[in-house]
């Protein structure tokens, strides 16, 4: 239950990111877990035994590969709707044609004809948007039912747990996924919690029920790294060996980046030495150089330094965000998004200059001191900067069900201070902008021909509390239909409860 025990609620409101206040004891096992001495089996270059003949040893880039495959969907033409494309355009009396899992055409209703065999759905009076994307979720990591045995989102054993991967905690049977689907969510990023300076790797998922998390993983999506500023790490570790202060937080990040730099160099040097060795035609060139030992923690951090892994930084305060921007420059990496950026409006110019997105709530505030300075216009003020990138995120299993309403509130507050923010623009805060920040904009996030058929048909203007996602297509497959119980998924946990009556399901 939400918000009933107010003190407890305050802790919960730290976000699922805040459940670190549990009583788990810090454990020295952290370091042991972090350093994996095992030599890497190579996959990257196709060799099975360390690559002595085929190439250098390379840590596997994708050892838990996506097995997601789109479900079959028939060609469908949604016609006569108000279409928000996610590219800033609004098409009145528009049509969207989905075929072969892709968006085949988007435009004026009279410009698109249904191909043979396609189903035509009269969408007059309805609205169509790209599938909604939540850049900040803990579904599966903090699932329902929620208790100590399922609380798998925060590895609270040490301030740097960059070695954990959120996907290894994701329980695909979390009923929250189904409820989010009914709210139009087609893709989402699952992040580790924010107790730690380095929380671990994120997973980007398609919101399609699956027996395995691999079956949900967004094919080809880059990994993210979760980091956290401010109150949480120092509160959690202040009495457990530090960091005790914000300067301790910064020192902790910097020390880790220094380690990551030398780890990266070790591997770069090895690669270079190997290539030299491989290019050497001498018969007596000796054995191939030995690959460095792998370290899961540093592997992730080095990936962030290389730009392969996107940095998602939980940071509330303006001054801290700007410190972090300097740190990113110091070590040559890029922060993709500041999450929970309550004070983004105070430094919206810095964010735009550095091309960093700010992922914010519409109106959450006051659950901790660093969340005191919320303004309803935060997203609008970030957005108003030339090149500004505003994202509305949830961090919440209820908020994710209605990101459209959260965006509506933020839009309305912006309009009240004179910004001409229209629905066709504000929809980008929950579609194109998170897709861009997550590195999947080339595949989803807008309604453009050739992209994935991730589409929501709304009963009306999605910037209204009364609008409902009526149909949700993912890769062209109808995964949710509000009017058809057979298209409303229920997780295993919800089966057969309470006298075998119907319980649960997406539409609850």
């Amino acid at each position: 239950m939400r918000n009933l025990a107010w003190t407890a609620a305050a802790v919960l409101m730290l976000g699922a990111c805040g459940q670190e206040s549990g009583d788990e004891n810090a454990d020295a096992a952290a370091d042991a877990a972090a350093t994996q001495e095992a030599q890497a089996p190579s996959e990257g270059n196709g060799a099975e035994d360390g690559g002595e003949t085929e190439g250098s040893v390379t840590p596997p880039q994708n050892p838990y590969p996506s097995t997601y495959e789109p479900y079959p969907g028939e060609a469908v033409l949604l016609t006569g709707a108000t279409v928000l494309t996610g590219t800033g355009e609004r098409i009145e009396n528009g049509s969207v044609l989905i075929a072969d899992g892709k968006l085949a055409a988007v435009g004026a209703a009279d410009s698109i004809e249904a191909p043979d065999g396609a189903t035509t759905i009269d969408a007059k009076g309805k609205w169509i948007t790209p599938g909604i994307i939540d850049i900040h979720s803990h579904l599966g990591d903090y699932p329902s039912p929620s208790n100590a045995t399922t609380s798998d989102g925060n590895e609270i054993v040490g301030p740097n747990t960059a070695y954990v991967w959120a996907e290894h905690s994701v329980w695909p049977q979390d009923a929250g996924f189904t409820r989010a689907l009914a709210g139009g969510i087609t893709s989402l990023q699952i992040l580790p919690g924010s107790a730690n300076l380095f929380g671990g790797r994120s997973a980007i998922l398609k919101n399609v029920p699956s027996r395995t998390v691999q079956g949900m993983k967004f094919p080809g999506a880059p990994y993210g790294l979760k980091m956290a500023c401010g109150e949480n790490p120092k509160r959690v570790y202040g009495e457990r060996g530090g960091p005790y202060t914000r300067m301790g937080n910064m020192a902790g990040y910097r020390a880790a980046w220094i380690d990551a730099q030398s780890y990266k160099k070790k591997w770069d040097d090895y690669e270079e030495a190997y290539n030299e060795w491989a290019d050497n035609d001498d018969d007596d060139k000796g054995d191939a150089p030995e690959a460095p030992a792998r370290d899961l923690k540093l592997e992730t951090l080095a990936g962030a330094l290389r730009g392969d892994i996107r940095v998602n930084m939980h940071c509330y305060r303006a001054d801290e965000m700007v410190q972090v921007l300097d740190m990113a420059e110091e070590f040559g990496y890029k922060v993709t998004t500041f999450h929970h950026a309550i004070e983004a409006y105070k430094i919206a110019d810095y964010l735009a200059e550095n091309e960093v997105c700010a992922a914010v709530w519409a109106d959450w505030w006051g659950f901790k001191l660093e969340a005191f300075d919320t303004v309803g216009e935060n997203a609008a003020l970030v957005d108003a900067q030339p090149g500004g990138c505003a994202v509305i995120h949830s961090d919440d299993e209820y908020g994710i069900q209605r990101l459209n309403q959260e965006a509506a509130k933020a839009m309305a507050d912006g309009r009240r201070i004179g910004f001409a923010i229209e629905p066709e623009h504000a929809i980008e805060w929950i579609t194109a902008n998170p897709a861009k920040a997550m590195g999947i904009l080339d595949q989803t996030g807008t309604l453009e021909a050739g992209k994935m058929g991730d589409v929501v048909l709304w009963s009306g203007n999605p910037f209204s509390v009364y609008a409902k996602a009526e149909k949700v297509y993912i890769d062209g497959a109808l995964m949710y239909d509000r009017s058809d119980p057979s298209r409303s998924p229920r997780v295993d946990f919800e089966l057969g409860l309470h006298d075998n009556d119907y319980t649960g399901g997406a539409g609850q």
Binding site: M1, G366, K368, Y398, F463, Q508
Partner: protein, 435 residues
């Protein structure tokens, strides 16, 4: 102030009136005529192009084609929506500034603290709370400020307050007692529901025994684990005069609660009630209102298995009075709860009633608040659209007939940082002034 809700006396109104007197004097001179709005009276019909006249802190007239009294400030509300002020049925408003900052959070006691029922929010309620203006600007004019439970099953006495921020903004002290049962109760007492209900009954029995003859109770041997102050505080509850607000969720716990209510002849209100819709007719028969989270639709705990967004609509259908709860900082979001409930089948007027008259009636102030009727205290909001819509905001808020300042620190911060240019002086010199 105890026993003010005894049905046999006129004290409730008298106390309410005296509590309001101080507030009203300042507003006494104000006469306001709100003209030509869509007026949702809640108690009666919706009046298109309706008028509301406020005088001496109370609603003087509600109708169509009224003539503004001489000297009245006239507000053109054409194209606007006029409703009673919103009433937060269960919150910690005035008790918490910052959730995670101990010295700024008085909502619940520390672990191991012995007392429960004896705690009284009015000892801590802070009308100057920074949380109040933000929610007032969101159209909330009254709220139940309720303590959170510590180790005891009882959290203490809640009060109805207004959100004027004025010194005397307690509308009614000792409005209700709070208890936590279900999973939260079992976690506190006995580790099982059996344990928690047994302890709750013990308290009620002891409180009865104490109330029957306090002097005798004190003199004869009694269990020291029952604090006398707790038993004393439970007096009005066991007399059936003061509602006991009980946190329960599962249908099963709700049935147990109804049995207890009947046995002890208690006045009971449920907060939580995620599965209340499963026992709708039983609740209606027992006359138990339910204050819900309009968004709860996940099996978060095993007591929430049947949580659904249709809870509100189904309870209403069954004839149960409902309202919505929120914490403190975003108590203003109760209308988003109602809006979502309406989207799931609750009639719009029932949604508005759940935010106004229903909680006023639950807490015994329905004859003074909760609807736009002549003679009632003038808590009125003029909205720029449908009050249950997320994009709508209040344009004017009246509490006790007095037009409220809708300024708050969030607006001031926004103005300070709207222009990020360096300027002649730092931002610390800008935008702090009220509009």
């Amino acid at each position: 102030m105890r026993n003010i809700m005894k049905k046999s006396t006129m004290k409730p109104l008298a106390v309410l009136a005296s509590a309001s007197a101080a507030l009203l004097s300042a507003a006494a001179a104000q006469t306001v005529a709100i003209m030509d709005g869509t007026v949702h009276t809640v108690s009666g019909d919706i009046i298109e192009e309706g008028d509301v006249v406020i005088r001496d802190g109370r609603i003087a007239q509600v109708g169509a084609d009224l003539t503004p009294p001489a000297g009245a400030q006239v507000i053109d509300a054409s194209g606007k929506v006029v409703t009673p002020g919103l009433f937060g049925a269960y919150s910690s408003i005035g008790l918490v500034e910052i959730g995670a900052v101990e010295d700024a959070n008085d909502s619940g006691p520390a672990e191991g603290f012995a007392l429960g029922a004896a705690l009284n929010v009015i000892d801590a309620f802070n009308p100057s709370s920074v949380v109040i203006p933000v929610n007032r600007a969101g159209g909330v004019t009254r709220a139940l400020s309720a303590p959170a439970a510590g180790d005891s099953l009882f959290a203490g006495k809640a009060a109805v307050v207004d959100l004027s921020g004025r010194t005397n903004s307690v509308t009614r002290a000792d409005t209700a007692q709070i208890a936590v049962m279900g999973e939260a109760g079992a976690g506190r007492k006995g580790g099982t529901r059996m344990g928690a209900w047994a302890v709750l009954r013990e308290y009620l029995d002891e409180a009865r025994s104490y109330a029957a003859n306090p002097n005798d109770y004190v003199r004869r041997p009694h269990e020291s684990r029952f604090a006398l102050s707790d038993l004393k505080a439970l007096g009005p509850v066991v007399e059936g005069a003061q509602p006991l607000i009980v946190q329960v969720n599962s249908a099963n716990d709700i049935r147990t609660l109804i049995r207890l209510k009947n046995t002890y002849r208690l006045k009971v209100i449920i907060v939580g009630g995620t599965e209340a819709w499963r026992v709708g007719s039983e609740l209606a028969t027992a006359g138990v209102p339910v204050i819900i989270d309009g968004m709860a639709n996940l099996p978060v705990q095993f007591e929430d298995i049947d949580a659904t967004l249709k809870n509100a609509a189904r309870l209403h259908q069954a004839g149960v009075d409902i309202s919505f709860y929120e914490g403190a900082h975003n108590l203003r979001l109760i209308r988003q709860h109602a809006g979502n409930a309406v989207a799931e089948g609750l009639p719009h007027e029932a949604g508005l009633r759940a935010l106004t008259l229903a909680p006023a009636e639950m807490f015994g102030v329905g004859d003074e608040l909760g609807s736009l009727e002549a003679g009632k205290l003038a808590d009125v909001v003029i909205w720029d659209g449908d009050p249950l819509e997320v994009t709508t905001k209040p344009e004017a808020v009246f509490i006790n007939g007095r037009r409220q300042d809708l300024e708050n620190r969030q607006h001031m911060l926004m103005r300070r940082y709207r222009d990020l240019s360096r300027g002649d002086l730092p931002h610390a010199y800008r935008g702090g002034e009220s509009d």
